[in-house]
Each structure stands twice: as structure tokens, then as C-alpha cells.
């Protein structure tokens, strides 16, 4: 019972943070709202029993990536966003589109609720050992390919960020 209350509580915080992200006009406030979303998502994972995923969510997303976001915003000293009224096409097509999508999802879920199993809180299995077995044994190849992909992305970022003449000259001799 307590778990369910906490789950709903953090779910509400998560949604509130996401809404606040869109409403706030200052980039720093939006970034901080995103941190709140990440942190409350971690709490939800924890309540579901996926402790490792929760910890990684906090360490990687809330603790590292969002701090980099924040540094970037601080460095650029981005001012308030300008508000535009939004295009009429987006209003005309977007609102019905979102409504239809939401109705479709709800309809499908309700129609199949008898066949889908419900996840009870705390029942997920996400101990570090299980996840390690999946990552380094069962799905080793996809895992390694992903890491190579990320490496390529990093190298691409370095190439794009460095000045063209520096690339042509090769690595600096004095470094």
C-alpha cells in the first residue's frame, strides 16, 4: 500500500516536472525540471525493484549528463526564451492528432487488459549480477557494437569541434 502511494507520488512529481519543463521560459529552470523528471524516474525504478537501473539513472543522467547541460547553459548565459504564438497548422493538426493517439493507446490497452499481465511493485528482477549476465554474456555482441558506435560518435564530435587547420596539421607537437 505504502509502495503504491509512493509510486503514484513520484509519478505525479515526474509529470509535474515534465510539464514545468515546457512552461518555464528560462533555460536553467527547464534543465532543472528535467533533473527532477530523471530523479523521480529513478525513484519509480527503485520502487519497481530495479535498483541497479535506478542508481545508474541517477549517476549517469541526473548526475553527469544534466550537469553538462547546465554547464553549457551557464557558459552561453542563455537569456529568456522568446514566446511565439505557435503556428496555426500545429494547433489545427496537433491537438486532434495527440487526442487520437492517446485514445488509440488507451483503447488498445483496455481491450487487451485481460491478456496482459500486470507488473506488481517490487517484483522486477534487476540485481547487478543479472544485468551483468545479460550485458556481458547473453547480449555481448550488441553491447560491444553499441560501445563502438558511441566511440565513433565521440570521435566525430572531436573532429567537428576542432578547428579545420588543426586537423590538417595533425596532432600538436608541443602538447
Amino acid at each position: 500500500m505504502l509502495h503504491l502511494i509512493l509510486f503514484l507520488f513520484f509519478g505525479a512529481i515526474c509529470v509535474a516536472g515534465a510539464v514545468n519543463l515546457l512552461v518555464q521560459s528560462h533555460p536553467i529552470n527547464s534543465a532543472l525540471s528535467l533533473v527532477v523528471v530523471m530523479a523521480s524516474l529513478a525513484a519509480e525504478y527503485l520502487l519497481l525493484g530495479a535498483e541497479f537501473v535506478a542508481a545508474v539513472q541517477v549517476i549517469v543522467y541526473a548526475g553527469a549528463i544534466m550537469v553538462l547541460f547546465l554547464i553549457t547553459i551557464m557558459l552561453l548565459n542563455a537569456g529568456k526564451e522568446e514566446r511565439t504564438k505557435g503556428s496555426r497548422v500545429a494547433t489545427l493538426l496537433g491537438v486532434p492528432g495527440v487526442t487520437i493517439g492517446a485514445v488509440l493507446v488507451a483503447w488498445t490497452l483496455l481491450g487487451r487488459s485481460s491478456t496482459t499481465r500486470s507488473v506488481s511493485i517490487g517484483a522486477l528482477w534487476g540485481a547487478p549480477k543479472d544485468i551483468a549476465r545479460l550485458l556481458f554474456h547473453d547480449f555481448l555482441l550488441p553491447f560491444e557494437i553499441t560501445s563502438v558506435l558511441i566511440l565513433i560518435a565521440i570521435m566525430g564530435a572531436v573532429v567537428l569541434a576542432s578547428k579545420p587547420e588543426a586537423v590538417a596539421r595533425g596532432p600538436r607537437k608541443d602538447a
Binding site: A55, V67, M74, P128
Partner: protein, 351 residues
């Protein structure tokens, strides 16, 4: 155990642990002032109480009654939230730190720890990584160049050194086969050759210990890594615009983080509460906690000692040292440890 007993015991433990932590924080400041004075051939605080022991109390009263200035140019919501964020995350991480074995009081028993999680180590790392926000936001919301530079330096430095800090702990985790702090300590019981304790620092993780200590000094913004508040260039860095209790909260956060780091070093590398146990039963029950506190005290002393011995790094040296030296070393340590553990599993008895 009924739910009422559980709640009562948890409340007692939480209040006791947080109380002890805050007292330890206050007296770390006293220790720092006293030791630094001795190192510089001065006396340090002597007037308030014997040996200046009531100085933290006087400081606290002063901070509370001082005028709390809020400059007109700050961004108020975050300016007020930043010290709160810093101090909250600094204190929260103590909740998963174990500091002793199972104790029985009457017919109630409990572990000397607020709560035992099977991912305790990751929780501490996660909470510490959230602590960056306090410093970064303080720097930005103050709207002054010194604060901003301090905040930027702090967040860049903390993120950089968090990588090698985390990686230096992986060796210990591989050896213990668990992320629970209690399991890691339990794996370090016993001795080699009848006299060398089986602590991780003597058990192949010596390099990891030094990597951890260096990164931890950088994580807590202590000298020689105190560039975020380098007073000779940045006035006071990220807390330039803060006064009274808000300033004190940053100080509390820094010292509470130091205590956490010292606890973690004790648990992971120095065998936690393991130590010689002797004497009558009542003494035997207290000895583990005593050993734990002694080791933590040693690390706190080391912090002060290092601060007044080493000069500050230059910023480029700091970054080059973290990324080009500590990080490769930490990775090498993981590879070697993993290899040793795998070989020991393959050929039992040879290692």
C-alpha cells in the same frame, strides 16, 4: 519485528546518526583550525572553552545571528535553493554507510546502519554526483563573475574526477563480488600470515586506494584541488556572494562530504570496523565502532595535513592529471584485478 518497532528503531538510528554527523562536521572545523595552526606554529582557537573546544558552538551562534545579505543582482529562487541542495545531498549519503556489526539492546537487535541496501555503494555515488548541483547553481545564480567561474570550475572538476573515483572502486567491487557496503566489509575480515589484515589496501588494491584518495580530494574541492574557491584568484569562488547561515551551509556540506568520503575509504579499503577485538563482552561490543571511528578520524586528519602541506594545482594541470594519468591508471587497475580474480577462479590455490 513489528512495523512499530521498525519505525521506532529507524527514527532513533536516523536521529542519532545525523546528530553524530553534524557534531563531527562541527568538530572537523575545529580540528582543521587547530591542526593548521600547529602546522604553522600558531595556537589556533584557545579562548572559547578548554582548548577552544566550544569554538564550533560560538561559530554556529555567530552564523545564525549574522545579517543574511541577499544581493539585488542574484537570481533569488536558485540562490536560496543552492545551499539547501548542497547540504541535503551531503547529509543524505550517510544513510547507507554501515559503521558496525549487529548489536542487541534488550531483545531488540539492529545493524549499526540506517538502512542496508544491496547497491549501497552506487547509492552513495549517485547522491554525491547530485551534490554538484548545489555548487554549480550557487555559482550561476549569484550573477557575479567570480561565483560563475568558481561554479563552472567546480562542476567540471567534480565530473572529471568522478570518473576515476568510480572506476577506482570497481576493483574492490570485483574482489567482494557485491555492491553492498556491508558485504564488502565482511569480505575483508581475517589476516594474512597471522599479522597483516586482509584489508583491500593490502590485498591488491593499493593503487586503487591512492587513485580513490586523490579523486576524493578533488571531489570534495579540497586542497590541492580547491580551484573552485581559490581565494587568490576568485575571492571565494562559488560562495562569494553568500553570507551568514547560507555560507555556513556550504561549509557544512563540504565537511559532511569529507566525512562521507572518509567513511567510504574506511569501508572499502581499510576493512571498515575490522580490528583487534579483546577484553570483556561490553568492550567487545563497542570495539568495532571504535576502530571504524579511529580510521575515519585518521582520514579527516589526513585531509587537514594534506591541505596545509601541498600547494594548489593549476587548472590545466588538474584536468591533464585527471584525464591523462588517473583515468588510465584506474582502468589498468580494473583489468589487472579482473584478470587476477578470473585466474584464481580458474586455478584455485595458485593466487
Amino acid at each position: 519485528m513489528s512495523i512499530t518497532t521498525f519505525v521506532i528503531i529507524s527514527i532513533i538510528k536516523s536521529v542519532a546518526v545525523v546528530g553524530i554527523l553534524l557534531t563531527a562536521v562541527a568538530y572537523s572545523v575545529w580540528l582543521e583550525r587547530k591542526v593548521s595552526a600547529r602546522i604553522q606554529n600558531r595556537w589556533g582557537p584557545t579562548r572559547v572553552g578548554p582548548f577552544g573546544l566550544l569554538q564550533p558552538l560560538a561559530d554556529g551562534v555567530k552564523f545564525i545571528f549574522k545579517e543574511d545579505l541577499t544581493q539585488p543582482h542574484v537570481y533569488k529562487p536558485l540562490y536560496i535553493a543552492a545551499p539547501i541542495i548542497a547540504v541535503v545531498f551531503a547529509i543524505t549519503s550517510i544513510s547507507v554507510i554501515p559503521f558496525g556489526t549487529w548489536v542487541n539492546v534488550g531483545h531488540w537487535g539492529t545493524y549499526l546502519q540506517i538502512t542496508d541496501l544491496n547497491i549501497g555503494l552506487l547509492v552513495v555515488l549517485g547522491i554525491t554526483s547530485m551534490g554538484v548541483y548545489g555548487v554549480a547553481l550557487a555559482g550561476w545564480s549569484s550573477n557575479s563573475k567570480y561565483s560563475l567561474l568558481g561554479g563552472l570550475r567546480a562542476s567540471a572538476q567534480m565530473i572529471s574526477y568522478e570518473v576515476s573515483l568510480g572506476l577506482s572502486l570497481v576493483g574492490v567491487v570485483i574482489m567482494a563480488g557485491s555492491l553492498s557496503l556491508r558485504d564488502i566489509v565482511d569480505a575483508q575480515g581475517g589476516v594474512f600470515w597471522h599479522f597483516i589484515p586482509r584489508w583491500n589496501i593490502f590485498h591488491g588494491q593499493t593503487l586503487a586506494f591512492f587513485i580513490y584518495m586523490i579523486s576524493a580530494y578533488a571531489e570534495t574541492n579540497r586542497t590541492p584541488f580547491d580551484l573552485p574557491e581559490a581565494e587568490s584568484e576568485l575571492v571565494a569562488g562559488y560562495h562569494t556572494e553568500y553570507s551568514a547561515m547560507k555560507f555556513a551551509m556550504f561549509f557544512m556540506a563540504e565537511y559532511a562530504n569529507m566525512v562521507t568520503v572518509a567513511c567510504l575509504a574506511t569501508l572499502l579499503f581499510l576493512g571498515g570496523w575490522h580490528g583487534p577485538i579483546f577484553g570483556p563482552p561490553i568492550l567487545q561490543a563497542v570495539m568495532p565502532v571504535f576502530w571504524f571511528c579511529l580510521k575515519v578520524f585518521f582520514f579527516m586528519f589526513l585531509y587537514v595535513w594534506v591541505r596545509w602541506t601541498l600547494p594548489r594545482f593549476r587548472y590545466d594541470q588538474l584536468m591533464a592529471f585527471g584525464w591523462k594519468f588517473l583515468l588510465p591508471l584506474a582502468i589498468a587497475n580494473i583489468v589487472v584485478t579482473a584478470l587476477a580474480v578470473a585466474l584464481r577462479a580458474q586455478y584455485p590455490g595458485t593466487f
